[in-house]
């Protein structure tokens, strides 16, 4: 019974509220950087409400079940990951063996659901966007897993999130050492690609004219995709905070430092987003398999040496 409570309240509601707020901060800061006024504070919520009120058109010849189920699958996996992370953050004795691997697997499903949605709509532009998403997934998963390996090594080879949190409570945050810092840098850039933000938003706002894999979605399908992307804007930095910065604690002064950690990561994402042009897909693949993997391997070697 308690699990349903965790699932709904922590996993869905709290994440959705913080995610929508983060998306509003993103749009407002981008508008201010471009010397204009941005949208009002409830704008992301109004967008999703409006989309739920429009009709849903399914293209003729598209596979109906896949087309309608793809956004739901993505949203479910994000809610699952979020409830897992919150449960571990509140009480670090609640983790089970191997839940880090479960979280890593579940985090690939949102990107795959966008890809499947693109292939299921019978449209050549959507297939093109979906194939680029596929290449992007292949490229950034490798340095991401290598960067996640560093906290595992440093906390005595344990793959339980609770033990990583406990290790950081005793010995100081992982990002304080050299290997942790390098791994955080690599993980930050991989996160930028996973969230599909500039400079790596190749599949989605590809030509700024057609929206890539989401071109045939309208009404409730599009609303679920937007909600999934906004919730991912909270879940991914939260995952990195648990791994590298010791999680969020809510007693006394640690609440302020927790909020500062999250806002700091969001601010870094926005700075990278507003100052860079978009790269091509082959440049992105070369970037992730070249310099990023090298830095991640160096970080792993440093972690093994004990620095």
């Amino acid at each position: 019974m308690i699990y349903i409570f965790y699932f709904l309240v922590y996993g869905f509601l709290l994440t959705a509220v913080i995610g929508l707020l983060a998306s509003w901060i993103d749009r407002k800061v981008t508008a201010r950087v471009q010397y204009r006024v941005g949208p009002p504070i409830l704008q992301p919520l109004i967008d999703i409400t409006k989309l739920l009120g429009k009709e849903t058109c399914i293209p003729r010849g598209a596979s109906k079940t896949t087309f309608l189920m793809a956004p739901v699958v993505g949203l479910t996996s994000v809610i699952l990951v979020s409830s897992l992370l919150w449960v571990n953050n509140i009480n670090s004795n609640n983790s089970f063996l191997g839940d880090l691997i479960v979280v890593l697997y579940l985090l690939t499903i949102p990107s795959i659901s966008i890809m499947i949605g693109g292939f299921a709509s019978r449209n050549p532009l959507a297939s093109l966007g979906a194939s680029r998403e596929m290449k992007l997934i292949l490229s950034y998963e490798l340095p991401f897993v290598l960067a996640v390996l560093v906290p595992v090594i440093k906390s005595n080879f344990s793959i339980r999130l609770g033990e990583i949190l406990g290790f950081q409570a005793q010995n100081g945050v992982i990002v304080g050492n050299l290997s942790g810092f390098l791994a955080l840098v690599v993980a930050l850039l991989c996160m930028q690609a996973k969230l599909a933000l500039v400079p790596f938003d190749i599949p989605e706002a590809e030509t700024e004219i057609t929206s890539g894999p989401l071109i045939e979605y309208s009404g409730s399908g599009l609303a679920i995709y937007r909600l999934m992307k906004n919730m991912l804007l909270f879940v991914l930095p939260f995952f990195l905070i648990i791994l590298f910065m010791g999680g969020l604690r809510f007693d006394g002064l640690h609440l302020l430092s927790g909020v500062l950690k999250y806002v700091g990561l969001i601010a870094l994402i926005m700075v990278i987003r507003n100052t860079n042009p978009r790269v091509r897909i082959d440049q992105a693949v070369r970037f992730f398999w070249g310099p990023m993997t090298t830095i991640a391997i160096i970080a792993v070697i440093f972690a093994l040496l004990g620095k």
């Binding site: 749009r27 508008a31 471009q34 010397y35 204009r36 006024v37 941005g38 949208p39 009002p40 704008q43 109004i46 967008d47 409400t49 409006k50 009120g53 429009k54 009709e55 849903t56 058109c57 706002a205 030509t207 700024e208 004219i209 057609t210 929206s211 989401l214 071109i215 045939e216 979605y217 309208s218 009404g219 599009l222």
Partner: protein
């Protein structure tokens, strides 16, 4: 007013469609999106796909080839949607009223909600026209509620 309509008026997503214009009205529409007349504060975004659109901005006098495409695109927009006709050419074909290639004006092909005259209309005129559209929708809903 129902929640659906309130949300629609607070975040209308705009799609821009040209049926054979001289491109002056198109440039003025794109001027509206620049930081000087910022329309993102009203929640409007320029979208790329017709399936994401709420408001259609139509310019140009419809010639015989583009009427076919216009009808097909209007069927693909998810309803409820609003149509705005911008510039003289889409109101009544302007100076091309006797041309051999422009048989009918725009509002005999698809239903139009608001007309914005001008050749080309200034961005202030376009914003004023959209505000008038929002007021008109609010008043109609109020009238049908009172009945």
């Amino acid at each position: 007013m129902s929640l659906k309509l309130k949300a629609l008026l607070k975040s209308p997503w705009v799609f821009h469609l040209s049926t054979g214009s001289c491109n002056n009205c198109d440039i003025e529409i794109l001027d509206c999106l620049t930081p000087r007349f910022d329309i993102e504060r009203f929640g409007m975004i320029l979208v790329g796909s017709i399936k994401h659109a709420d408001v259609l901005l139509i310019t140009g006098s419809c010639n015989r080839q583009s009427v076919i495409i216009l009808k097909r695109l209007y069927e693909q927009v998810p309803k409820p949607c609003l149509v705005v006709a911008i510039g003289e050419c889409s109101l009544s074909r302007g100076m091309f009223i006797h041309s051999y290639n422009c048989p009918v004006p725009l509002d005999k092909i698809i239903p139009v909600d608001v007309y914005i005259p001008g050749c080309p209309p200034k961005p202030e005129a376009i914003i004023a026209g959209v505000v008038k559209l929002i007021e008109k929708i609010k008043r109609e809903k109020l009238k049908s509620k009172k009945r």
